[in-house]
């Protein structure tokens, strides 16, 4: 405890600032003796027990700030401390909160929104310093709904006119991977499952880059992709022992939540790797499937740039160009179009794989769910005559009205009977 006072009764230094109603008192927490009472007039002995006054209390700046804003600012600081952010982040986030509070719409908002606003300010600060904090994490910490959070976030970015950079994927990979509890043996983690952090990080990064290049990341939540990539990286480092482990079990072992889309991201990533494997000479003979390709991820990643270029055509370029090139290749020896290392990677003509698939996001590769029919020609002018019969079809006849009223009354009666007062 600050100050440096002793209780005159028991001599303990455990003096607590407590207030009795509106009077501030200094009380010994051991014996309950009131050391000082009020600070208007002090005796010499009292002065020895005086506490130092914090800057914020002495300047009176908090008098101009409303209680709810003070509460909000305290929440901002608490959140920053919980997330173990550097101290500069705290000041920036507090500044954003104060700035937001100047707008009447925020001042009049509900407490729930003000609470969420705390998270928004911290998130914006982290984004601007490239600190990888996801919205899911913030919402979990605040016990907030993502919908409410998204609404407030979009509103505050627009209101304050802020320029918020995108989430930095590489940093997020590092942070997220480090949270996997697989780097040390423990009762839940068998020794064969323990992995070196650096190796796993680098391989995960390469897989995430590959996913980004092949349109698996754009438009999607980043975290499930990273989960799938981490899983594949981990599996591929010791496939013999780890192929039997499923994604769900992996996440449970690592003490990380499994995001729902991660399994479909995993399948997409595996299909990309399989298409790349078709272009690798010594893998074409093996007839790989989604399980066996994991063993060769190391090789595939080593040559990933070349393989992506060869395995995929730019989706927008005409397919004829790709087919023409394939025909040319079939005719003569390998052209110089390929990279240095790739000539050895190509098989003889007889075993050439199918023509390259277009490099498109998965949503464009799937066939459309329903064919939109072309809109019919409409020669409506807006001023046509409206026939009476057309309007009559929407009106009830008197008999129908009577029936309807009877039915409604019966339903009301039935309801009141079933819910006795």
């Amino acid at each position: 405890m600050p100050g440096g006072g002793h209780c005159p009764d028991c001599g303990s230094t455990e003096l607590v600032e407590d207030s009795h109603y509106s009077q501030s008192q200094l009380v010994c927490s051991d014996c309950g003796c009131v050391v000082t009472e009020g600070v208007l007039t002090t005796t010499f002995s009292d002065e020895g027990n005086l506490r130092e006054v914090t800057y914020s209390r002495s300047t009176g700046e908090n008098d101009q700030v409303s209680r709810s804003q003070q509460r909000g600012l305290r929440r901002v600081r608490d959140l920053c401390r919980v997330l173990q952010l550097p101290s500069t982040f705290e000041d920036t986030a507090v500044a954003y909160y104060q700035q937001a509070y100047r707008h009447s719409g925020i001042r009049a908002a509900r407490l729930q929104k003000k609470e969420v606003l705390v998270g928004c300010c911290v998130l914006i600060t982290c984004r601007q310093h490239n600190w990888p904090l996801t919205m899911g994490t913030v919402c979990a910490l605040l016990y907030a709904d993502l919908d409410v959070f998204s609404g407030t976030y979009m509103q505050i970015v627009k209101l304050l006119g802020l320029d918020v950079p995108s989430l930095c994927l590489a940093d997020l990979v590092k942070t997220y991977c480090s949270s996997f509890r697989l780097f040390q043996a423990s009762p839940s983690v068998p020794p064969k499952y323990v992995e070196d952090k650096e190796k796993m990080l680098s391989r995960t990064l390469q897989l995430v880059e590959l996913a980004d290049e092949t349109w698996l990341v754009t438009g999607r939540h980043p975290l499930p992709v990273i989960t799938a990539a981490t899983f594949l990286a981990w599996q591929s480092l010791q496939p013999s022992h780890r192929l039997t482990c499923s994604l769900a079990r992996f996440c449970k072992l690592a003490n990380v939540d499994l995001p729902y889309p991660a399994s479909s991201r995993l399948q997409e990533l595996l299909s990309v790797l399989l298409r790349m494997a078709e272009r690798l000479a010594w893998l074409q003979v093996l007839k790989l499937d989604k399980r066996s390709v994991v063993k060769h991820i190391g090789d595939l990643l080593q040559h990933r740039h070349t393989l992506v270029r060869k395995a995929f055509r730019d989706g927008t370029a005409e397919m004829e160009a790709g087919e023409k090139e394939l025909r040319e290749r079939c005719q003569g020896p390998e052209q110089g179009k390929e990279e240095v290392a790739s000539s050895s990677l190509d098989l003889p003509e007889g075993k050439r794989p199918a023509s390259p698939t277009p490099l498109l996001p998965p949503c464009m590769l799937k066939p459309p769910k329903r064919i939109c029919p072309p809109p019919p020609v409409s020669t409506v002018t807006g001023d046509e005559n409206i026939s009476d019969s057309e309007i009559e079809q929407y009106l009830r006849t008197p008999q129908e009205i009577k029936d309807f009223e009877k039915a409604q009354a019966a339903r009301q009666a039935a309801r009141s009977v079933s819910n006795p007062p």
Partner: protein, 427 residues
């Protein structure tokens, strides 16, 4: 003479306005078996703007025609309503078909119908070109039919004129993509005026050409000696003067129109819900009657103050018709409903650019307009300043445009965004 030309053409054009279908109307239901699908190189762009009005403004055209000295302009106008007693002269036949072709062309305003992708562009033009050539032979042979007006030059002139016109038109097509047909015609007017002026001021026809199109790169045409299809054939369908990349060739489709109207009388919502079959009213949930009609398929929110919101229509006219139908229903229920202050509040359109888009890149370069949060929404929200439209851009290349009060705002916004998106085409 010049003022007469201008005013007459304006009048004719004004009459055409009411009839003109806006920009990207799909192909009309009247397929002409003889002609291929519409072509931006509709023969004799001069005829293009005028023939469309033939049906309605015959008298105006005739008046205009006789006011001018025998020039090609007047000649073409006179053949509108046949001044002669011959019913179907070859030229008449040809011009009839030109009109039909222009009718096909007009709604599409140099573009294809929205559902036809760019690959349909080439076959269309070549198709109509051959058709045009066939007719040209006929026209050439029958030039002697018209005695009162000297039309012997017509086939050759037509070739030359059409070539220049089509080149000009193609420039227009590419530059003013997506604008309404009326605007298109208005733009072609100055050219026609030039022609008129050029022709009037100079008796020789070859000179008039070079005067009419001073700025045209192709103005130094050889004298139109070749009556045949060669000059036309030399215009390969796909060599427009401006590069194709400047026009997108894609037209956004309107998906939803929201409009409001004031019925100007207090309404008893309970009575409406009781007497109308297509109404639902749940005062605990929402303080308005939700009414639906089948044609046009729309939904209306009718409030007790007499205000009404109509949603779900696919065009402005449909929205207005639907609002009128709802007002009529309310009228028939015994309320003194009127139809005041009909206003379109919002228009939503969508289209597909057909290539994937790197949203991360787009948000980096257009930070001040874009908002891309993949954790919240898979699309990028682009707030365009001029026109004030919000676009939702997705990785698949689909674009949704909303916030427009006018159809032209949507088209303009798409034309603004298309070159930006093309920049992010490559992986």
């Amino acid at each position: 003479m010049a003022p007469t030309v201008c005013s007459g053409l304006d009048r004719v054009e004004a009459e055409a306005q009411g009839r003109d279908l806006r920009g990207p109307c799909p192909a009309p239901s009247r397929p002409d078996p003889q002609l291929g699908p519409a072509s931006p190189f509709a023969p004799a762009g001069l005829i293009n703007g005028l023939c469309a009005t033939r049906a309605q403004s015959g008298s105006a055209a005739a008046q205009l025609a006789w006011a001018l000295p025998p020039s090609r302009l007047s000649a073409l106008l006179t053949v509108g309503p046949p001044p002669m007693e011959e019913e179907q002269t070859y030229l008449e036949l040809y011009l009839d078909q030109c009109t039909a072709q222009d009718d096909l062309a007009a709604p599409r305003s140099p573009l294809l119908s929205p559902v036809v992708p760019d690959d349909g562009y080439i076959p269309n033009t070549s198709n109509s070109e051959t058709v045009f050539n066939a007719h040209l032979q006929e026209v050439k042979g029958a030039s002697g039919h018209f005695s009162s007006v000297d039309l012997s030059f017509l086939p050759d002139e037509l070739t030359q004129e059409s070539k220049d016109q089509s080149v000009i038109k193609s420039k227009q097509d590419i530059e003013e993509n997506g604008k309404t047909q009326s605007q298109q015609s208005r733009l072609s007017l100055p050219r026609e005026q030039d022609i008129g002026l050029g022709l009037i001021s100079d008796s020789t026809l070859s000179k008039s050409h070079s005067q009419a199109y001073p700025g045209d790169a192709d103005s130094d045409q050889p004298s139109p000696e070749k009556p045949n299809s060669t000059p036309l054939m030399s215009i390969t369908p796909m060599t427009p003067v401006t590069p194709v990349s400047e026009c997108s060739g894609i037209v956004p489709q309107l998906q939803n129109i929201v409009s409001t109207v004031n019925l100007a009388c207090k309404l008893d919502l309970k009575k409406i819900a009781l007497h109308a079959k297509n109404a639902e009213y749940n005062p605990k949930r929402f303080a308005a009657v939700i009414m639906r009609i089948r044609e046009p398929r729309t939904t209306a929110l009718i409030f007790s103050s007499g205000k009404m919101v109509c949603t779900g229509a696919k065009s402005e006219e449909q929205s207005r018709l639907a609002a009128r139908k709802y007002a009529r229903v309310v009228q028939k229920l015994g309320f003194p409903a009127r139809f005041l202050d009909f206003k379109i509040q919002n228009m939503v359109g969508s289209c597909d650019v057909r290539f994937p888009i790197r949203l991360e890149g787009l948000v980096l370069t257009h930070q001040q307009f874009s908002s891309y949060e993949p954790e919240l929404f898979p699309g990028l929200i682009y707030r365009m300043v001029k026109p004030r439209i919000v676009l939702l851009i997705f990785v698949s290349g689909k674009v949704v445009l909303t916030g427009a009060k006018e159809r032209s705002e949507i088209y303009e916004a798409f034309e603004n965004i298309y070159p930006i998106l093309k920049g992010f085409k490559k992986a």
